[in-house]
C-alpha cells in the first residue's frame, strides 16, 4: 500500500469509525460483535484500499463489506449474546425505566428481523440512505428494498405491540 493511500485510509477510519460501529451495533445487537464486525470489515477493505479509494462511493462499499461480514458472523451462532449498551451515562440501573424498556424492546425486535430486513431498516432509518443507495449496498433492486423495509417496519411494530400488551 502506498503512503498516500495509507493516509487516506487513516482519515477514512478516523472520521467514520464511530458511525460504522453504531450501524454494526444495530445489525448485530451487541457491542462486542459490532466491534469485531467493523474491525474485520475494515481489515478486508484495508487490503484493497488503493482500489476502493478510487470508487465513487467508498461508504457504500464499506457498508456492503460490513453487512456481509455481519451475515457471515451470524452463521452457526446458536444463541446470540447481546450487549445492549444503550448509553453509557444513561444506562445506569437508575435510568428511566420506560425509555430503557422501550429501547430494549426495539433492539430485541430488531434482532428478530431476518438479516436483509434488518439491514434495510438500519440503512434507511439509521443511516438515512436513499432507497437507491440501500439497494446498491444490499445488491438488490429498489423494489426489493421497498418491500423489505416495509415488511421490516410492520414486523417491528407488531413485535413492539406484543411487548406492550404484556405490560
Amino acid at each position: 500500500m502506498s503512503e498516500s493511500s495509507a493516509i487516506d485510509f487513516s482519515d477514512y477510519v478516523t472520521s467514520r469509525s464511530r458511525s460504522l460501529l453504531r450501524c454494526a451495533f444495530l445489525l448485530t445487537g451487541s457491542l462486542a460483535d459490532a466491534e469485531d464486525a467493523v474491525q474485520s470489515a475494515l481489515t478486508k477493505v484495508y487490503a484493497v484500499w488503493p482500489r476502493v479509494a478510487r470508487v465513487n462511493d467508498v461508504d457504500a462499499y464499506v457498508h456492503r463489506v460490513l453487512i456481509n461480514t455481519v451475515r457471515r458472523g451470524a452463521r452457526g451462532r446458536l444463541r446470540e449474546v447481546l450487549l445492549p449498551q444503550l448509553n453509557r451515562e444513561e444506562s445506569s440501573l437508575q435510568a428511566s425505566e420506560d425509555r430503557y424498556t422501550h429501547r430494549m424492546d426495539l433492539m430485541a425486535a430488531l434482532r428478530q428481523l431476518p438479516p436483509k430486513q434488518r439491514a434495510a431498516v438500519v440503512l434507511r432509518y439509521h443511516e438515512d440512505l436513499s432507497e437507491a443507495k440501500t439497494a446498491e449496498i444490499l445488491g438488490c433492486s429498489v423494489g426489493t428494498v421497498k418491500s423489505q423495509t416495509s415488511r421490516g417496519l410492520e414486523k417491528l411494530r407488531a413485535l413492539l405491540a406484543v411487548e406492550n400488551s404484556r405490560r
Partner: protein, 274 residues
C-alpha cells in the same frame, strides 16, 4: 410507539448514541491487515513448496502406513497438560478457571472428551482449549471451555450433566462463536448460559471477569418492566436455578465490579439438556 418514520429514526439514533468510539481501531485494523497480508504471502509460498514436497510425503506415507496403528486426532491440552494452563492466544479470555471442580483433572478430561464428540463440528474447539468454569450449579455439574474452532474463530462451549449423573455423561449443551478471528482489546466480557427443561428446574450460569462482585438480572418479559435482582456471586461467577418451563424467554443482566457496571448483556433461554 414508533408511530411515524421520524420516530423510528429518532429511537434508532438514541439507541446508538451511547455506542463509544474505539480509539485503537485504526491501529488494530492496520496491524491485522499487515498480518493478513503476511499470512497470504506465507500461504502462497507454502502452497508452492507443498506441491513439490507432496510427492515425497505421499510416498513416505504410503510406505509408513503399513503396519502402523491408526491414531485418532485428539485435542492437545495447554502447555501445562491441563485446561488451566497459561493462555497464549490473545483473543482468548485470560481468566483463571473457576468453580469447585476447576482443579479436578478427571472432570476436565471428561469435559474435553465430550467436547471432542460435539456433533456440531462448526463450533467444535480444535485448538487452544482453556477452562473458564468447572463445578456445581443448581441441579447440575457444568463446565465452560473456550478455544479456537477449525475456522480460527473463538468458540465458547458449555457442557453439563445432572448432579446425580457421572462426569462421563457430560454433554455439550451449547457451543457458540463469540468473536471474529481478530484481537479485541478494550472490552470487558461475561459468558453466560441458560438451560431450561419442560418438566424440571434448569439453571443459569454467568461467568464474569475476575473481580466481578455483583450481578443483577431482570427477566423479560417481566411483570412490570425491568426489575433487577441480585444474583449470588462467588469468585466472579453467578448461578441460579431456573424454574421448569419458565414463562420468561430472556434475561438482561449487569455485571459490576466495585460499583462500576462492566458489562450489560443478555441471555436467551432455550438451551436444553437431554
Amino acid at each position: 410507539m414508533l408511530a411515524s418514520d421520524d420516530e423510528i429514526r429518532a429511537e434508532l439514533r438514541a439507541i446508538t448514541e451511547g455506542v463509544p468510539d474505539r480509539p485503537d481501531l485504526l491501529q488494530a485494523v492496520t496491524s491485522a491487515g499487515r498480518a493478513r497480508r503476511r499470512r497470504r504471502q506465507f500461504v502462497s509460498v507454502t502452497l508452492t513448496a507443498m506441491v513439490v514436497a507432496g510427492v515425497a510425503i505421499g510416498v513416505t506415507t504410503l510406505v509408513g502406513s503399513h503396519g502402523s496403528d491408526h491414531k485418532s486426532n485428539t485435542l492437545t491440552l495447554g502447555a501445562s497438560g491441563t485446561l488451566t494452563g497459561p493462555v497464549t492466544d490473545p483473543r482468548l479470555l485470560n481468566w483463571p478457571a473457576r468453580g469447585d471442580q476447576a482443579s479436578d483433572q478427571a472432570f476436565q478430561e471428561e469435559a474435553m472428551r465430550s467436547q471432542e464428540n460435539n456433533p456440531n463440528t462448526t463450533n467444535r474447539i480444535e485448538s487452544a482449549p482453556h477452562l473458564l468454569f468447572a463445578g456445581d450449579v443448581p441441579g447440575a455439574k457444568a463446565a465452560i471451555i473456550e478455544g479456537i474452532n477449525a475456522s480460527n474463530e473463538v468458540v465458547v462451549a458449555a457442557l453439563a450433566t445432572p448432579s446425580n449423573q457421572p462426569d462421563g455423561s457430560l454433554e455439550v449443551i451449547e457451543a457458540r462463536v463469540i468473536a471474529a478471528a481478530l484481537p479485541k482489546t478494550n472490552m470487558q466480557h461475561s459468558v453466560s448460559f441458560a438451560v431450561t427443561h419442560a418438566a424440571q428446574p434448569g439453571f443459569l450460569l454467568i461467568v464474569g471477569a475476575p473481580g466481578t462482585d455483583e450481578i443483577q438480572f431482570s427477566v423479560q418479559p417481566g411483570p412490570s418492566g425491568p426489575e433487577f435482582r441480585d444474583l449470588t456471586v462467588q469468585d466472579g461467577v453467578g448461578s441460579s436455578e431456573l424454574p421448569a418451563a419458565p414463562d420468561f424467554r430472556e434475561m438482561f443482566y449487569a455485571v459490576q465490579q466495585s460499583g462500576r457496571v462492566d458489562d450489560y448483556s443478555y441471555v436467551m433461554f432455550g438451551g436444553t439438556q437431554h
